[in-house]
């Protein structure tokens, strides 16, 4: 059997680049560049925060279309900037998207859904609990904490699912045939409708390739559950910035401007998160292209990412969960 050397070389180069980047990262972490970077992030955060308080105050002083647009635009930019950091959401999403082939469109939908849900959760926790039960933000800390705990439990759950899939994919347990499934690692997801007819051989008459409903439909159903789980694991943790915007808007007597602002933040967030999601999908495609002719390897890498990423998500979820039980002095203890 002739061994192709080209894919191996490319694989080696790719690995080398990754190691160099990692090395630079570790170096940067302990260097002045890193501090300049956090200094830059801080300055940005402060600037956007100041813009938001200014814009909302101006709108509260005199409501006009000009001041309303300023609120929307400022909030949008805040969302874009604020989401640029590695929140737990982006780690979950990119791990999921790197581990298996997915469509770009789907990754964008997921990002958008998670970001919008995050805004809705903030509105429900601040306005919903106030207008329904008369609770002010200081009194809803427990509700916020439980929403966060649910989100972090989901983070751990998704980690478990990814590991489980990787184990099955490696053929360590379950059907060994799966690792040699005839679909290989081709880059399209099977989200076409399943309303087609099946003949006796299990072949689908409308799409013309071998189709095994029992395994594929099950995995698709699992995937939908995973997708919903991911969206909720991200969305159930309201952004503190959005909560503060709503509290301020209500206090200043402009509650609707708060809703407007939070949705603008969500849209900004969605754009940043989508960008990272698309990068993850494309990165996987690129890796597979670089490994052409070595289909098995792409699958192994995908499973490897799922395994490592899944473990990382469990640790991350656990760590975040712990923070919800600690009592740091936030908001002056109010």
């Amino acid at each position: 059997m002739q061994v192709k050397s080209a894919p191996n070389q490319r694989f080696f180069v790719f690995g080398l680049i990754a190691v160099v980047v990692l090395g630079l990262l570790v170096y940067a972490y302990g260097s002045a560049a890193y501090t300049q970077f956090i200094g830059w992030v801080y300055a940005g955060q402060k600037m956007f925060h100041g813009e938001m308080t200014d814009n909302l105050s101006k709108f509260a002083d005199s409501a006009s279309s000009a001041t309303a647009w300023a609120v929307v635009f400022g909030s949008f930019l805040y969302g874009v900037f604020h989401a640029a950091g590695p929140g737990h959401g982006k780690i979950i999403l990119s791990t999921y998207l790197l581990a298996q082939p997915h469509e770009v469109r789907k990754s964008v939908y997921m990002s958008a859904a998670a970001s919008i849900l995050q805004g809705i959760v903030a509105i429900v926790l601040v306005y919903g609990l106030f207008y329904a039960f008369g609770l002010v933000a200081k009194e809803t800390k427990a509700a916020v904490a439980w929403s966060e705990r649910l989100a972090f439990a989901l983070v751990m759950g998704i980690g478990v699912i990814l590991i489980w899939r990787a184990i099955k994919g490696f053929g360590w347990i379950g059907q060994k045939a799966h690792s040699h499934n005839p679909h290989g690692d081709h880059e399209h997801s099977h989200d076409h409708g399943h309303d087609h007819q099946h003949d006796e051989n299990g072949l689908c008459s409308t799409c013309g390739h071998a189709h095994v409903p029992s395994s594929e439909q099950v995995s698709k159903a699992t995937d939908i559950r995973t997708i919903v789980g991911i969206i909720f694991s991200i969305g159930l943790r309201p952004c503190s910035g959005a909560v503060l915007v709503l509290v301020f808007a209500k206090f200043a007597g402009i509650p609707l401007a708060g809703v407007l602002s939070v949705f603008a933040i969500s849209i900004g967030t969605a754009i940043t998160v989508s960008t990272l999601a698309i990068l993850s999908v494309q990165a996987r495609k690129l890796a597979v292209t670089l490994l052409d002719g070595a289909v098995g390897k792409a699958e192994i890498i995908g499973n490897g990412i799922a395994l490592v990423g899944g473990a990382a998500l469990i640790l991350l979820g656990y760590g975040l969960m712990q923070t919800t039980f600690e009592a740091p002095i936030r908001s002056m203890g109010l």
Binding site: L25, G30, K46, L244, L286, R330, M332, G333
Partner: protein, 216 residues
């Protein structure tokens, strides 16, 4: 070329994800402070007077639900209640203040609320914390900083007016406010990661503005 761009973007995406969360300093609450250092007649430091002006968002958060008489106005008693609650809450963390001195450091006694007011939409609170024993700064200077280790709250001295002032101080005493120097603190910061009492990284210390009070 396209592949090179893709590759770079990919690595950036990975790099961004691998950066520790602390890389994303996320203060959500902002305090502008003026601190008065009160001397006793013997020329020793008797205590500290804090004036904190909170950002508009936190001010709304703090005052929301305080309107007990439901007249829609923020009144002195309502703000005072917030002040009393805050100084009670932050007592155990020494009012966000850390001392650095050779040998002894001052110990805080009970805080006294002084005043509260609204400046536009911003809540301004003033309170005083005496030291248990007056602190002598003739031989060694007193170094302190007021900051949140978690960096959820950003504390900065008022840059326009006097951020630090000495009250009733002997003529030979002076206070020096040094700018936050995150880049110089980096080694200390990197080694302190995860060792903070709160469990979080002591990121706030990198942004702390240290003040040195000395009498020569």
């Amino acid at each position: 070329m396209l592949k090179l761009i893709q590759k770079t973007l990919f690595c950036t995406a990975i790099a961004v994800n691998l950066l520790p969360n602390s890389a994303w300093a996320h203060p959500h609450e902002f305090v502008t402070m003026q601190i008065g250092i009160a001397f006793d007649d013997a020329g020793k430091i008797a205590g500290m007077r804090y004036n904190w002006v909170f950002d508009e968002f936190f001010s709304a958060y703090a005052l929301e639900g305080q309107d007990n008489n439901k007249n829609g106005k923020v009144e002195r008693e309502e703000m005072d209640a917030v002040l009393t609650e805050i100084i009670g809450n932050i007592k155990r963390i020494q009012y966000f203040t850390k001392f650095e001195a050779e040998g002894l450091t001052p110990k805080f006694d009970e805080a006294t609320p002084l005043s509260s007011e609204m400046i536009g939409r911003q809540l301004s609170l003033t309170f005083e914390v005496p030291f248990k024993a007056s602190f002598d700064v003739t031989s060694t200077p007193l170094k302190y900083a007021t900051y949140d280790p978690e960096f959820y709250i950003s504390f900065e001295h008022d840059k326009g007016k006097k951020g630090v002032s000495l009250v009733n101080a002997p003529k030979n005493c002076s206070g020096e406010l040094s700018e936050a120097t995150p880049s110089e603190d980096i080694e200390e910061f990197a080694s302190s990661l995860g060792k903070d009492d709160s469990g979080g990284p002591d990121l706030g210390s990198s942004f702390a503005e240290w003040v040195t009070i000395s009498c020569k």
